[in-house]
Amino acid sequence: MNPEKVLFGFFIVLSLTLNFGFFVGEMDNPLHHNVYELFAVIVVNLIATVLKFGDRTQMGAILLSTSLVAILQLLAAALVWGMAVHVTGKGMSPEIMSSIVSLSGGAMLANVISVVLLVIETVMLRR
């Protein structure tokens, strides 16, 4: 029972679960996607990325790259949201919402890969 490993696994899985929670729902309905949840997803993904730093193995490199992909997509989603509502003044619309949700869907795929890799690593250790 290694507390460091518990935290590592916790944040990786949490990033996937929160991401799924944000993603699920009608793609263009702003009522189904809460901005607080997107905020939580971004923060937890950042924490998971930093926890993955400094691992020299091949597995560690791939884990870090999936996290970086997820961060990229989530920050793009946040940027789209912020620009639509504040910068351009157009406000929220179904098109903007679907862009945001599709970007977060991409990030979710990266998080799925991350979790799968974590599971594989754990199973390999048990052998």
Partner: protein
Amino acid sequence: MQNIFFIIFRRMRAPLLALILAYATAVLGMVLVPGQDAQGNPWHMDFFHAFYFISFMASTIGFGEIPYEFSDAQRLWVTFMIFTTVVVWIYAIGTLIALLQEPTFKQALVERRFARRIRQMRDHFYLVCGYGEAGRALIQSLTERNQHAVVIDKDQESIGLIRLENLRQFVPAMSADASLPLHLLEAGLKHPFCDGVVALTNSNEVNLKIAICAKLLHPDMRVVCRADSRDVEANMASIGTDYIIDPFETFAIHLATALHSPCVNLLQEWLSKVQREPLNDPVYPPRDGRWLLCGFGRFGKAVYERLTD
């Protein structure tokens, strides 16, 4: 290259986590704490403005309370967050600066730059390990004849001295332990243009190790080693070292030649002197009589053997 990034990432993990948590808490707090708009109606900040405000607060720029004046609840939260975020930033930047000052990190940078310089060498060169008296003379002679060389020495000051010397060719030098194969590889042991390795350190064991590494990693390269113990010399010869130089033997041979055949010695000195030095005059020692040898260590034994031949 990977080494450098690995060190940076590992060290910056804790500061980065602290930074992310501080920012996240601050932004969330700014969004949740109720404020009021210009008319006094309750109003909540959105994430965009919260992040903007926290950014210029944490970097101590402090533009002002945007877009409306803050309520007292917001000001209370901001007070706590000022101390948190500014301290976390100082911690992160301080860790990064301390990391960049660290000797191991700087050594890693120096080694990387040196190895890259060696990889880009396009001329044939000799790898000289050890920059003592012999090493210095060798580098001087090599560069005068427009040959290229690479030097590694354990002592940082010796490597500093090489930069002060007025050499005809640029000699890349690094302070590293030559007994580690990694450093030899960085200095170009397996480089296709490395014509030979000269082991001139003052330790027999290190010279032996250099000879072994060279013969294993670059088999068809010339290896010249210095040794002053018979066992180590036998060991070096057994692995196929091309030239083994025993300083005691060498000097004993010179001394014997000078005593028995001074003209041969004179000719040899004239032919092998450093360029542009004046030729020396012959010396004629007495031919008959006994020589009294005081001291019978390694040097004494070598002289005795040569003189009684």
